[in-house]
Symmetry: C2
Subunit: 271 residues, 2 copies
């Protein structure tokens, strides 16, 4: 992959971004959360207002919508700003940082969320035994979990990939809306790859914007899916295909250092 | 084992019988059902009134109670009677015969009721999927069964003896009353064996009475227990010990032919 030179047209990134925003304009608030999660997780990282504006512009966000979302993120205690001369820098508050750090391993995990699954049946009189376990409830006292509780009070049995779960059970593992999101995103990624072609020439800011859009779309799905191995998901779930394509693209378009993005912006790299 | 000769005292059988009737006087109605199940399952088998009287006398049943129970069994359609000269013969009706035949394999099974167990989880919206399976419910849509239904609509997993079931689950497999019955009967059998000694001398009618008492006590327990392998029963369950001892005794004191009992009665063998 070569970095695009200044004389080339940049309109093609609009086409690229459209694949990832077609399912409705992304909520700018959550898009900005994805930007900070992608670029500003270092404790001293600050993003300039002009870089934020430029990045979100690439994603099709209007300046006014960006200002409103920034204001709301500040009000919610997620970010803070500091004036530098005529402009402002933005950075995560300790609380915003903690939220981002918590979600980050799940969003940026290139592999399956878990390797094994167990069916665990608790005493119907005491379903609280299962509350701390990650996974999905399939009945009032039955969970499919990747971490069964360590107590002899529950019945535990492995759920292997040699025997598919009944349809009603996998439907409770991942709801139809999330399955549909995975299908839409898988199709979008397929179309995106066709538009990108074999040797796309993107500026570093476009790469950063592409990564944010990929991560933002993926997080909407993966944060709704339970922490369970792929084989327990329902028929029609295309999350595995999405994950593989997202992380292939993230490998192909590696993370851009915040400092180099700011430099590229000042030197007028993109346009 | 030698057959007791006429000059020996028969009082010892009262001591023997007491071990099996100590947990409360057995209901005469169900005792008679056990008599017919033991001696009169052949389609043309008829038991004389005097043999019935004599057998139940051995078990400590008063003649009046016997008459009342016979009357009720006739009214219930379980048995019929036919006069022969000055006395009556009694035999199972087709319906009573069908009932006895249905219970007989379970009561007279010397081995475990089943070899394997499965935990089966049905769609909570459709627990009827499990209704035809033998076993025990452990939750509103979960059964431990020896014959899982053949449908992909349920989740099925083996329950092996390498991993004990949680206590709340085995308590639902066999309730505390039935467990207590098994404990009482196991103790009674232990005491009975001591009273019988190594070479008990019983008349053929005493043997028949002993067998009926054993089967009667055992059927009260086994017909309340689910058709499941021994390893899923709760701690404290002594049904396995009961079964082994009952069938050792039934082997030691083999079934007496009805005709030979009638003959022994007429020839005045016992007293």
């Amino acid at each position: 992959m070569r970095t695009k030179t200044a004389h080339m047209q940049t309109t093609s990134f609009t086409d690229i971004a459209r694949h990832l925003t077609d399912c409705g304009t992304p909520r700018v608030w959550s898009l900005l959360v994805a930007v900070f999660g992608e670029l500003a997780l270092d404790r001293d990282a600050r993003i300039s207002g002009s870089l934020l504006r430029h990045l979100t512009e690439q994603m099709g966000v209007k300046p006014e919508a960006m200002r409103v979302a920034l204001h709301r993120l500040r009000k919610d205690g997620w970010i803070e700003s500091a004036r530098t001369g005529r402009t402002s820098d933005y950075f995560l508050t300790p609380w915003g940082h903690a939220q981002s750090m918590q979600a980050s391993p799940r969003i940026y995990a290139a592999g399956p969320a878990a390797k094994s699954a167990w069916l665990v049946l608790s005493n119907p009189a005491n379903p609280a035994q299962l509350e701390a376990s990650p996974g999905a409830w399939v009945s009032s006292n039955v969970m499919i979990t990747s971490v069964p509780p360590e107590t002899e009070e529950v019945f535990t049995t492995p759920v292997t990939d040699t025997c598919p779960l009944p349809a009603w059970m996998s439907a409770r593992i991942c709801d139809a809306d999330t399955v549909r999101l995975s299908q839409d995103f898988a199709s979008a990624l397929h179309a995106l790859r066709a538009t990108l072609g074999s040797d796309p020439q993107l500026t570093s800011i476009e790469i950063a914007a592409l990564r944010v859009l990929l991560v933002h779309s993926w997080r909407r799905i993966i944060l709704k899916a339970p922490v369970l191995p792929d084989h327990v998901f329902p028929d029609g779930w295309r999350g595995v295909e999405c994950r593989v394509n997202v992380f292939n693209l993230l490998d192909q378009f590696p993370k851009q250092a915040l400092a180099s993005l700011e430099t590229a912006l000042v030197s007028g790299e993109p346009r």
